[in-house]
Amino acid sequence: MTRKNFLSLALSLAVTVITGASLVAFAPAPTAIGSAAPSFTLTDLDGKSHSLADFKGKTVVLEWTNPNCPFVVAHYKSNNMQSLQKKYTDKGVVWLAVNSTNDQSGEFMSVADLKKNRTEWKSAYTAQLIDADGKVGRLYNAKTTPHMFIVDKDGKLVYQGGIDDAAGTSGGKDAKVNYVAQALDAVLAGKEVPTATTKSYGCSVKYATK
């Protein structure tokens, strides 16, 4: 190998490494607004499998949930969550509640219990998906219950954060802005979401410890 060849090889190697590194460094976080929402396939309470890809062309809401969390309880006891679910599923939105509680947790509920809870609360989501190993939760970086994500009809993430601006257990009564309703109204009207990122609030998601 001549010296010139060696130099150009080294140079191209360096360029590749630097480009690669900067690509990695500047790769958007998985939850970045405007980027493609990570795909997943999960099973619901009735044993039916759902993939995000199945809902292409529809707006999808992901609601991280845990019926043993008082924040979740508050939003269901006030009927706040169900009325949102009802209002927007009626408009063609797919509403998926995702439960990432691990099966070692004291708050873990069996499918049978979750079904009873669904009846008791008159939940109006499209489906509740079981993510006991927390893989999808980690993929979306869901931290709290509730933690809300909205994916538009092109599969892009357009909202992530809290359900509203009232961090607490008022179940929406103290809220001035319901971010999810605001974002869904904008998306359905083909407009840009005014507030696309907020800090979610609630209990921690009861992930499995690795």
Partner: protein, 726 residues
């Protein structure tokens, strides 16, 4: 099975949310989970007082800090105060980091006391009961979370002494867990940011001795960014974490949080000038103490030789400072006694005296080095901040005084008489111990140059501290040695005779006067109650001394002597135990507020020192004058009476609108210690003027000041002149 458990849990939970009764505990499965209460260490509401919101938390559950972390909710406190009362912001003790499956919480386990200062209205009338109420909201989590709420109330006058003591201890405990100012650390910081549309990478670079000890960073809540708290990485003085902007307008303008060193938190608050192009933006952090001063007077760097000369001169001057006078009188007595003996005896004794001074200075230096290496900040005269030390000094001085006025005779080698006997002896040990006593009494009054020299020394390696202390010791001892080696100069002192007995008795009264001065120090440390018990203790000591004097003289049989000494000792020890351990419980109570900040009618409207209010005043562009003082510093008190509280100075302060701040160092105060150190001092007095609008160019006045000097400095620092002075 699962269902039944969960339904029950559910029911319990709903019941909890509905029935959280005021002042009572939040219950979970029949056991108290969170028990809130309000506590205070004040006996009435006439002055601003501290209120603690105390939460007792069941084991393994936790409440949240003001930034709860990734999940959870901060504790919410809503005050219900009587008309005209105001509450400060809540102060949060340093929280713990609780990580569960990668989700981070900042919170408190077992117990926490949040602190606030409540200020009564100016025209507050103490008649009638004052009660303070707080509505509380919290979220308590273990693995599960349960919200709680309740009201806690505190009514003055309803507390037993035992409860007050417990409250006092609790408030002290949690005050000590509050985050400290960053200036307490030897640290410089730089914040660099690298921002793209999707993320902002933050890097805090720390430099200085404490940089590698920083183990974590607990940020406050970000308004415009999201953070995964688990992504905060700390290693080798570098803290890094990525932030996700909430929207396109998100810009990191400042960074607030706590730097964590072990269990302790330090307030970190730095403005950030973000650069989107990836170039790191630098900034040094911290408040007033952390910033660099461009001090207007004294030279900042002093060579070691010059410092040693200053230390020597300072030691020399200690001989004539007001609070060393009793010791001088003691020494004068020694001169008188020794002039009757041979020259070689004088020379030997004088060298032993010098050795005593040097040895005790070395002991001080050793302690200083130890404390310095332990990271504790101390100052010249720090011994006088300990009530135990002051009490021991008072007792020793008092007993010695009794001895001098003739209540009992020394010379009998016995336990209780040993200290005073030793001090008055003219033999080797007596001379040596005289040197020790002279040192002990000299420390509270820092002579002008000694302050600079020691301030310099504290930031130096151990050997320099020893060198400086040695120089100061030699300065203190040298007049004595010189006089002893040139006994010709001793001829000015009259020949021994009956007058000596009277002179000795007179010295006894001088020592009583010293004891009175020490009582004022005790008063400022332990309050009026402390003074009363100290005087009662002195009374018991005098009875013990009298017993010895009357029944255990030279002619007494050995058995009787032993019995008398045992009785005397029992009286002294018993009265100490009963008065201080049972009645005053002084070591538990700790420190009572000092009197030095009391406002005199028509005098300068002194503002008590807090770093926060000082920083506020300086930042507001006001001219600020700070008097660093302490009750035990006689020089300070004299200057205050003769220079500061004069009509001329009072008028000038009023005319120029100067904010007068009294930094009272009677009791240990770390903020004041840090500021003193900042000015290169380790003791009081110190007088500093911050010129209006020029917070980085404070004027430092000499330790001995005159009215003229002070007025000149005020003029120079006043708003219209400060602008033109460079």
């Amino acid at each position: 099975m699962h269902l039944r458990v969960h339904c029950f849990r559910w029911l319990a939970l709903m019941l909890l949310m509905l029935t959280a009764a005021p002042v009572s505990a939040q219950l979970f499965q029949g056991k108290p989970l969170v028990t809130p209460s309000l506590i205070t260490n004040a006996s009435d509401a006439s002055k601003p007082f501290t209120v603690g919101v105390r939460f007792k938390i069941a084991p393994e559950w936790h409440l949240y800090w003001k930034n709860a972390g990734d999940a959870g909710l901060p504790i919410e406190v809503k005050w219900q105060l009587p008309e005209g009362f105001t509450a400060s912001g809540i102060q949060y003790p340093t929280p713990h980091k609780i990580v569960q499956a990668g989700i981070v919480a900042f919170g408190y386990e077992n117990e926490v006391v949040l602190l606030a200062t409540i200020t009564p209205p100016k025209d507050f009338n103490a008649s009638g009961k004052v009660s303070i109420k707080a509505d509380l909201n919290w979220l308590v989590c273990q693995e599960s979370c349960i919200p709680g709420n309740g009201a806690a109330e505190l009514t003055f006058g309803n507390l037993s002494a035992a409860q007050r003591l417990e409250n006092k201890n609790l408030i002290e405990k949690y005050t000590s867990q509050l985050p400290q100012p960053l200036s307490r650390l030897s640290l410089k910081s730089r914040v660099g940011t690298k921002a793209t549309a999707e993320r902002t990478d933050v890097e805090i670079s720390l430099e200085g001795d404490d940089a590698v000890k920083v183990s974590d960073f607990f940020p406050e809540t970000f308004e415009k960014f999201l953070i995964n708290h688990i992504d905060i990485k700390t290693s080798e003085g570098k803290i890094t974490f990525p932030l996700t902007p909430k929207d396109k307008t998100s810009e990191l303008t400042s960074l607030q949080g706590l730097l964590i060193l072990g269990e302790k938190g330090y307030e970190f608050s730095v403005p950030v000038t973000a650069k989107g192009d990836g170039a790191p933006a630098g900034n040094t952090g911290g408040g007033l103490i952390a910033q660099d001063f461009n001090v207007q007077d004294e030279a900042e760097r002093l060579s070691l030789a010059w410092v040693l000369v200053l230390a020597f001169a300072g030691g020399l001057l200690l001989n004539v400072m007001p609070c060393v006078l009793p010791v001088l009188s003691l020494k004068v007595m020694s001169f008188v006694q020794q002039s009757a003996k041979g020259k070689d005896v004088n020379q030997r004794l004088s060298l032993l005296f010098a050795a005593g001074v040097v040895a005790s200075f070395w002991a001080l230096a050793a302690v200083a080095v130890l404390l310095q290496s332990a990271g504790s900040q101390i100052g010249w005269g720090f011994q006088f901040q300990s009530p135990i030390f002051v009490l021991v000094m008072t007792a020793v001085i008092f007993v010695f005084g009794l001895n001098l006025v003739g209540v009992f005779e020394f010379g009998t080698p016995a336990v209780s008489g040993e200290v005073s006997a030793t001090l008055s002896r003219n033999d080797n040990l007596g001379a040596f111990m005289n040197g020790v006593l002279a040192t002990t009494l000299a420390t509270p009054c820092t002579a002008p140059f000694l302050g600079t020299a020691l301030g310099f020394a504290f930031s130096q390696p151990a050997w320099v501290i020893f060198a400086v202390f040695t120089a100061a010791a030699l300065g203190l001892a040298v007049p004595y040695v010189v006089l002893s080696w040139n006994p010709a100069w001793l001829k000015f002192i009259p020949k021994p005779g009956l007058w000596m007995v009277r002179f000795k008795q007179l010295m006894g009264f001088l020592l009583f006067a010293t004891a009175v001065w020490l009582l004022t120090v005790i008063g400022s440390q332990l309050g009026a109650e402390g003074v009363v018990w100290t005087v009662a203790f002195l009374l018991a000591l005098s009875v013990a001394a009298w017993l010895i004097g009357q029944y255990a003289d030279f002619t007494a049989p050995r058995g009787r002597k032993v019995a008398v000494y045992v009785i005397a000792l029992l009286i002294a020890a018993g009265s100490y135990y009963w008065m201080f351990e049972r009645q005053l419980r002084w070591r538990e109570v700790g420190v009572v507020a000092s009197t030095a900040s009391a406002i005199e009618e028509g005098g300068i409207p002194w503002k008590p020192f807090t770093l926060a209010s000082l920083e506020q005043d300086v930042a507001d562009g006001k001219t600020v004058f700070i008097d660093f003082t302490a009750d035990w510093c006689f020089t300070c008190k004299v200057t205050e009476k003769t220079v500061l509280e004069t009509q001329t100075v009072r008028n000038k302060i009023k005319e120029l609108g100067i904010v007068a701040v009294r930094a009272d160092w009677t009791n240990r105060n770390d903020e004041i210690t840090a500021l003193l150190k900042k000015f290169g001092r380790s003791g009081v007095p110190l007088y500093v003027v911050f010129p209006a609008g020029k917070p980085t160019e404070p004027i430092i006045l000499p330790e001995v000041i005159t009215t003229g000097l002070l007025i000149d400095a005020f003029q120079k620092a006043s708003p219209k002149n400060a602008a033109s002075v460079q």
